[in-house]
């Protein structure tokens, strides 16, 4: 169950590149499409399709952006990849560039990871010296360079269009979609934005082939996935597991006992109660975000809820009404609950209606999912309230 496709010591740049450049860009896109790889940044968008859109989009320049914003509370799996598997990431970005016709890559780094900056730059220079980056990579006639940009420190900047705004020096606020970044992204040019982990899967797929990659996971969630597992368990840490693992299997692996709830996919993810533990973690089950937080029976879920809702109220960019005002009202409600007040049925209905409105009408993923824990935790752990 525990795998090491991504966490294995670096694969050989030579081999993955050698293979990649033996294909045409279209062939690479088809391979990635065939692999069934879906984005690891949260939404699970098929990577091959994303690349295909960008490849077909007209633009005198194109960009590949690696989203290393890793802002979801409880997530630190991209950090591990950045420190331990940078070679995979660099290959993934360069291959993405080759596939879509981009010569520029940007690594958008979470400001809390500023300490990595010197090291990353030094390693990029090394890659350049070895001609894995720069002009005419490995004599294959393809130029690709990577530049690092630091986030200004807001969670919402991990949202791809806010990320672009922030890179352009503006307020980090999500844009309206369409146009999607693949049509008009950084500086108006077609831009592929992928999560660190998504990109790290690329050299593996090219080196080992689609069949090998698809050996792991389920039919609609192929491959392995990294999880930052924290909370009430004996062995917290970053794990690489097959997609489609059951919650129970996962809990066993990390030595969790007496578990009451599991938060999968961070604050905006979903909360599993005991009766969900035989369900799977994958795109067709509990959507796999980067973080898994385990709560044992001593935990009060009202407190957990309060933390999540406070987080969203803090992190809403404030642009659109449902999220800015909705998170404010949700926070008021959970604070009342926390103080021991019982919400009237009427108030509770208003809040549930609000949750629905936020989901349906917010501009970006943050507002659309900010009420998830409210609905989920209140629905599943009524007794704690």
């Amino acid at each position: 169950m525990q795998r090491s496709c991504l966490l294995s010591p670096g694969c050989k740049c030579n081999e993955a590149f050698e293979k990649a450049f033996s294909y045409t860009p279209e062939e690479i896109i088809n391979i990635i499409k065939d692999s069934g790889l879906r984005g690891r940044g949260g939404a699970g968008f098929p990577t091959g399709m994303k690349w295909e859109f960008a490849a077909k989009a007209a633009g005198e320049k194109k960009y590949v952006v690696c989203n290393a914003d890793e802002g979801e509370p409880g997530t630190f799996k991209d950090r591990v990849l950045l420190t331990d598997s940078l070679d995979k990431l660099v290959q993934g970005m360069a291959i993405a560039g080759y596939a879509i016709g981009a010569n520029y890559g940007i690594l958008y780094l979470r400001s809390e990871y500023k300490w990595m900056l010197n090291d990353l730059n030094a390693k990029f220079n090394e890659f350049k010296n070895q001609n894995y980056l720069g002009n005419n990579i490995m004599g294959k006639g393809f130029d690709f360079d990577i530049e690092i940009k630091l986030n200004a420190g807001a969670y919402v900047c991990g949202e791809e269009t806010a990320l672009i705004e922030s890179m352009e020096g503006k307020r980090g606020e999500p844009r309206n979609k369409p146009p999607f970044p693949v049509q008009s992204g950084y500086m108006g040019y077609p831009t592929v934005i992928n999560n660190v982990e998504t990109l790290c899967n690329i050299p593996y797929i090219l080196e080992h082939g689609v069949a090998e990659f698809k050996k792991y996971g389920t039919e609609r969630s192929c491959g392995t996935k990294l999880f930052s597992i924290s909370g009430d368990c004996a062995k917290p840490g970053v794990y690489e597991m097959d997609l489609g693992i059951t919650i129970r299997e996962m809990l066993e692996m990390v030595g969790a006992s007496n578990t009451k709830a599991v938060q999968i996919g961070g604050a905006s993810g979903s909360t599993a109660g005991e009766k969900d533990f035989d369900k799977t973690i994958c795109f067709e089950g509990f959507p796999p975000g980067g973080s898994i937080i385990i709560f044992n029976k001593s935990r009060n879920m009202a407190r957990v809820l309060k933390n999540f809702i406070h987080f969203f109220e803090e992190e809403s960019c404030g642009q659109c009404t449902p999220c800015r005002e909705g998170t404010r009202r949700l926070k008021e409600a959970v604070d009342r609950i926390e103080r021991g007040e019982k919400l009237s049925d009427e108030d509770m209905n208003t809040m549930l209606e609000l949750a629905e409105v936020m989901k349906n009408s917010s501009k970006c993923g943050l507002g659309q999912t900010a009420a998830n824990p409210f609905v989920d935790i209140l629905g599943k752990f009524r007794e704690d309230f």
Partner: protein, 597 residues
């Protein structure tokens, strides 16, 4: 090029099929077909921001509701605009906004003309389930001509958009994040310590009462009610083409005579017309231009060209902040409002035999920057404050209503003599390109002895709503004293709105401009689109007001400023000659370079 067939799509809204254009949004399609979708952050003059989420609709196959203002139509799209889900969502959004909207409708300047109030009524909001905050959180700074009450702000950001997209000033910006977001100035500075030009375009875009003009009606009423005061009023050209809108009349109705009657009924002792000093401006500014041209062409001396117009106080504020190096190019003429003010307390006071200290001079302007201009320390040339109070069109409408007057029922009356006499050239000052047209009508005739070679005196090339317009006119057969202009191609340019002004100024600064004369108006459409004009505004509304202004011009007996008989008398009796000593003392001014940030 797309063919017509390719770009036509079939889209269903509420079960009915419509022909849609490729690239248009759901909202645009719906509007074209009279399907009402409510909006708050959307505005005809601005880019779509998709912030308020009022305009959400159901689109088949989409997981969540879609903002119709930002979602393009697609072939065979199936849209529903009035399902239960849509209605409930909109109601909730209004409630969420109302919960944080602190202030009483009854005491708000925008009462009965507030988009939030209208939507609350339309969607039958009877209670705000989250409670309604009553506690005021923001201080209101009433010193500046633009008054911001953030407690009433619903964060639609139309104000910051107009400031950035149309004016390029960015004095106000969204500050803070999330629930702490508010609209403010950098470092929390008050407006008058920023580069704000006080054009008031933000007020015209505000859906609520969060942005209003500093009120002058109380002071004006006080003066009117004071029997020891002689209260004189002047009204700018653009007022007559828009005032009726405040009385629910569709845009484009001229109410010049009714307005004069209303002003008399309100109790102003003398009702004058700023058009008079608009004509005077043409004489002064035209003379200044010809003098500069002569210096450049005959004396070959160093003189700042192109010359820029100086009637628009928002533009003056802008150039002082952003192009101080180009201040020498600015005409030294005061704006018509300030010329008027200086003459009221000198020429008129003498003529009328009134002690100027007892005169209260009031102007009605389509403009909030005029309030700022009247307060400038340079504007005391009569020995007193030349213009005591500036009312916007909106404030005048409030005074008319407070006086119990039904504007549209009034008979026409005339402005008072002598400073109520004017020409068609003056009234077009209210539209972008108007000052240029008036100047050309006079200057050309002065130089050649002939009327401008345009049918009916309508100089069409300088008219219109294009952001920047250029024109040229070749002088042939000038009168002997202007022989140096023989064969000269006089080049002019016109810009309205400050982003457009910036483009021209950058060209001038780079030495790439070959113009002789440039007209700049700070506001889109010129004064008729000013920050003191009735709300709402849109390109169509401004177009209608422009039509009204040009119709007024066409209907005037006199169409050229130099034919204004009262202006001639003014020179004979008082000023003696254009750009003469007295003129310089009263009608011209200096400018001050200011900082940007």
């Amino acid at each position: 090029m797309q063919t017509a067939v390719e770009s036509k799509l079939t889209v269903s809204i509420n079960g009915k099929e419509f022909d849609a254009r490729k690239g248009e949004t759901i909202l645009q399609l719906a509007k074209r077909n009279d399907i009402n979708i409510p909006t708050l952050c959307n505005h005809a003059d601005l880019c779509e921001s998709g912030n308020c989420r009022m305009c959400v609709v159901e689109v088949e196959g989409q997981r969540v509701l879609q903002a119709s203002c930002t979602t393009p139509v697609a072939e065979r799209m199936v849209i529903r605009t009035n399902t239960r889900k849509v209605r409930k969502t909109r109601q909730m959004i209004i409630e969420l906004l109302l919960a944080e909207h602190v202030g009483d409708c009854q005491t708000c300047k925008r009462n009965t003309n507030c988009e939030l109030q209208d939507l609350a009524a339309e969607y039958g909001i009877e209670e705000v389930r989250f409670g309604k905050s009553q506690e005021k959180r923001y201080e209101v700074d009433t010193r500046t001509p633009i008054v911001r009450d953030n407690d009433k702000c619903i964060l639609c950001r139309r104000c910051t958009q107009v400031c950035e997209e149309i004016q390029g000033v960015e004095a106000i910006k969204p500050m803070g994040r999330g629930k702490d977001t508010d609209i403010g100035c950098l470092f929390g500075l008050p407006l008058d310590e920023t580069t704000c030009v006080f054009c008031g375009q933000c007020i015209n875009r505000c859906p609520t009462g969060a942005l209003t003009e500093r009120d002058a009606t109380k002071e004006v009423w006080k003066a009117i009610d004071d029997p020891t005061k002689h209260v004189v009023v002047q009204t700018a050209p653009a007022i007559r083409a828009a005032l009726a809108e405040e009385f629910d009349i569709p845009p484009g109705e001229r109410v010049t005579g009714k307005m004069a009657s209303a002003l008399k009924m309100i109790g102003f002792d003398t009702v004058f017309d700023t058009d008079f000093t608009a004509d005077l401006t043409i004489i002064e500014e035209g003379t200044e231009l010809l003098t500069r041209l002569k210096k450049a062409l005959v004396e070959k001396s160093q003189v700042a060209l192109p010359m820029f117009t100086s009637c628009s106080p928002g533009w003056i504020n802008y150039i002082e902040h952003y192009y101080p190096d180009l201040l020498p190019n600015l005409s030294t003429c005061k704006s018509p409002q300030q010329m008027f003010g200086a003459l009221i307390k000198t020429y008129y006071a003498q003529k009328k035999g009134v002690d100027p200290k007892n005169i209260v001079s009031v102007s009605v302007m389509p403009c909030t920057a005029k309030k700022f201009e009247a307060d400038r320390p340079e504007m005391y040339d009569s020995g007193y404050k030349d213009v005591d109070h500036v009312l916007t069109t909106r404030e005048l409408a409030r005074m008319i209503k407070q006086a119990g007057i039904d504007l549209m029922d009034l008979q026409d009356s005339e402005f008072d003599d002598p400073m109520g006499i004017s020409t068609g050239a003056a009234v077009i000052f209210g539209a972008t390109g108007g000052v240029m047209e008036a100047a050309i009508r006079t200057a050309y005739e002065l130089v050649t002895g002939r009327e401008v070679p345009f049918a009916n005196l309508d100089i069409r090339p300088v008219r219109g709503m294009e952001g920047i317009r250029e024109a040229s006119l070749t002088i042939t057969d000038p009168l002997p004293e202007w022989s140096f202009l023989n064969g000269a191609e006089v080049k002019v340019a016109i810009a309205h709105s400050l982003t457009k002004a910036r483009m021209l100024m950058d060209k001038v600064r780079a030495g790439e401009a070959t113009y002789h004369f440039i007209e700049v108006m700070a506001c889109p459409g010129g004064c008729l689109g000013g920050g003191g004009q009735p709300i709402p505004t849109s390109p169509e509304i401004r177009e209608k007001r422009a039509q009204a202004i040009y119709t007024e011009d066409g209907a005037m007996k006199l169409r050229k400023s130099h034919e204004n008989p009262a202006v001639k008398v003014l020179y004979e009796e008082f000023l003696k000659e254009p750009n003469g000593h007295k003129s310089h003392e009263l009608l011209h001014t200096k400018y001050t370079p200011k900082d940007t940030w």
